[in-house]
């Protein structure tokens, strides 16, 4: 096996595809060797089969939820929202699914024994699956705050349980997901032991909170973002997001979207190949 993975498009056997509650499904697929090298935060582009609402033409981006290199499978956790994900939900064991990846730049994992904070909400937990295991394997301790609409909507917690990390569940239904309360909670927790790294996905409200907390100021913080895609490979410039990091020079940025658009007064990056993981302040800093 090579250490650097190249994306591969291939039709692969579905091992299982089950409804795990509240419109979320969990699919397990036999994957190719190169695909099993996917890193936490990377994604695949899925060619969804025709489902209840008919065919979809473009591929659909999905984060890797779990990888098992020994047994050679990969998992996605997805919420059925439209025509493509309805098609995914129609998959039966032994059907084939065409997946393309791994794609994008994933999370940077610190080496060493720091304490990491993961704050995720809803479907954003899917993206955190491989991260939590990776952090623990690297020797970090992890504290996770997982936010849901209500207890029945809890999904994506298995990787946290398998990694044996401390999880605080908060809900809209009892008001515990309220940002001011969460801000105080994170403040208290960081007083006990400061955080060395922060990761978030799935909620703009939570991202804004983390970016503004004094106790996390200066702590390396990363966010995984979503944007509509066509190619998934950096070619079409469909998937841009505004970013607010100054770029030192054109040479440093090469011909990425950021250097091209910098001169036009707006900086953008392509989520599919320069992300989906970015620095938290890079993203939140451009929000109005």
């Amino acid at each position: 096996m090579r250490e650097e993975e190249l994306p591969v498009a291939s039709s692969l056997v579905v091992l299982s595809n089950v409804h795990v509650g509240d419109g979320y499904w969990h699919v397990r697929i036999r994957a190719e060797e190169d695909q099993l090298l996917a890193k936490p935060g990377q994604f695949f582009h899925l060619k969804c089969p025709t489902g209840a609402s008919g065919p979809s033409y473009l591929r659909r981006p999905m984060s890797v939820y779990a990888i098992n290199r020994e047994l050679g499978f990969i998992e996605f956790l997805y919420k059925v929202t439209g025509v493509g994900t309805q098609g995914l939900a129609s998959l039966q064991p032994w059907d084939e699914l065409d997946i393309f990846g791994p794609l994008g730049v994933g999370f940077e994992l610190p080496a060493g024994s720091g304490r990491s904070l993961i704050v995720a909400r809803g479907v954003g937990l899917a993206t955190m699956g491989p991260l939590v295991g990776g952090l623990v394997r690297n020797g970090n301790s992890v504290l996770a705050i997982c936010s849901f609409r209500r207890p029945e909507a809890e999904v994506g917690l298995v990787p946290f349980e398998l990694a044996g990390v401390e999880v605080h569940r908060v809900y809209d239904s009892d008001g515990s997901s309220d940002v001011s309360g969460l801000g105080r909670l994170i403040d208290d927790l960081s007083r006990v032991q400061p955080f060395a790294s922060v990761y978030t996905c799935g909620s703009a409200r939570l991202a804004r909170l983390l970016s503004g907390l004094a106790c996390l100021s200066g702590v390396p913080s990363q966010i995984a973002v979503e944007q509509r895609m066509a190619c998934g490979l950096g070619m079409c410039h469909a998937c841009v997001v505004p970013v607010c990091t100054p770029v030192a020079s054109t040479e440093a940025a090469g011909d990425t979207g950021i250097s091209e658009t910098k001169k036009a007064g707006v900086q953008t990056k392509r989520v599919c190949c320069e992300g989906p993981v970015f620095g938290l302040d890079e993203i939140v800093g451009c929000w109005p």
Binding site: K47, P55, L58, C231, L233, A238, E251, S259, T261, K262
Partner: protein, 340 residues
């Protein structure tokens, strides 16, 4: 340009891998718009970049048609920049980029080592700017200039130079005066005067016309009562447009002396054969690469298989070889011209 069908039913295909490769190279090799091409299949502007070399051998593509570069920097359009339709997609990317100077310093060099002919696509807001860009981009390693007069997003209400015979003629004449490289003019299908505009391009010095860019379209998401694209309108591409563009290629090829390059909705090697039969000398392949990242390789393989199964020893035998029972191809086109 239409040629007479010239099948060789007695073609024997050599055995062995070496013979096969030679045979394949000979079968695919062609000439188009002033260039010798290894294959008639090349990527379409805006749907290809060097990132594709992660999935296929870019050096093997017929030519490398680069994303359109504009005169000055452009931020591009608001998101969503793409949406899906049945059998295709809409896009309003808005030609983001740093302008042609940044392009020639930072982007172009990334494409010069592959060895495939590099075709630079340019777009500008005035005739003079087109000329300045063509001159500045007449650089070592650039094989041809594709003049994108047709992008429907850049002018207000989707209007573009390519909507007008005289505006297209002025742009092409200015570019002709500014470069000695072959000029390909990429036209819009959003006009009833396509053949006349193609003729105007030819008469102003074009070496080929690319038929065509995307079809101006829009999508609406009924539940949210919003357009599906941030820019409201955008260009339709993909298999949905193939029959329309195929017809346009057929109409233009029968009237033009210069080469026609077909572009619209190609998904397979047989689609390429259809475009060649309609009169295209070569083709460009766009949207399908988003769905099937290695489509350019697959399509070439399928074209080779098709030619072999039909006993053609060269793709050139297909060009314009459409057979219309009881008609010569020119009569058929003339009849279409007078139809309501």
């Amino acid at each position: 340009m239409l040629a007479v069908s010239n099948r060789d039913p007695g073609l024997s295909i050599q055995d062995g891998p070496e013979g096969e490769t030679k045979d394949r190279d000979g079968l695919l090799a062609t000439a188009c718009g002033g260039l010798e091409l290894r294959s008639p299949i090349m990527p379409a502007s805006g749907t290809f970049s060097h990132e594709m070399d992660q999935v296929l051998d870019v050096a093997k593509l017929g030519a490398l048609v680069l994303k359109t570069t504009t005169f000055g920097p452009r931020a591009g359009n608001p998101v969503p920049r793409v949406s899906e339709t049945s059998d295709g997609m809409l896009n309003s990317i808005g030609l983001p980029g740093g302008g042609f100077e940044h392009f020639s310093e930072s982007t172009l060099p990334k494409y010069l080592h592959y060895g495939s002919p590099v075709v630079v696509s340019i777009s500008a807001e005035t005739v003079v700017q087109f000329g300045q860009m063509a001159q500045a981009l007449t650089l070592p390693g650039v094989a041809a200039i594709e003049v994108n007069v047709s992008c429907p997003n850049i002018e207000a209400d989707g209007k573009a130079f390519a909507m007008s015979k005289s505006a297209t003629a002025s742009v092409v004449a200015e570019v002709r005066a500014s470069t000695n490289l072959p000029i390909w003019v990429k036209l819009t299908p959003n006009t009833g005067e396509l053949v006349d505009i193609a003729l105007a391009s030819q008469n102003s010095g074009a070496d080929a016309v690319v038929i065509a860019n995307t079809i101006l379209a829009m999508g609406i998401d009924a539940p949210t009562q919003k357009p599906t694209l941030g820019n409201v309108m955008g260009g339709l591409s993909g298999p949905a447009i193939k029959p329309i563009i195929l017809r346009m290629v057929y109409q233009c090829a029968s009237k033009l002396e210069i080469d026609v390059i077909g572009c619209g909705g190609i998904q397979s090697g047989v689609d390429v054969a259809e475009y060649l039969l309609a009169g295209a000398a070569a083709v460009q392949v766009g949207t399908v690469s988003f769905v099937d990242p290695t489509a350019l390789v697959r399509i070439e393989d399928e074209l080779v298989d098709f030619c072999r199964s039909q006993h053609h020893s060269s793709v050139r035998e297909l060009v314009g070889a459409l057979e219309i029972p009881g008609h010569s191809i020119n009569t058929a086109v003339n009849q279409m011209d007078v139809a309501p």
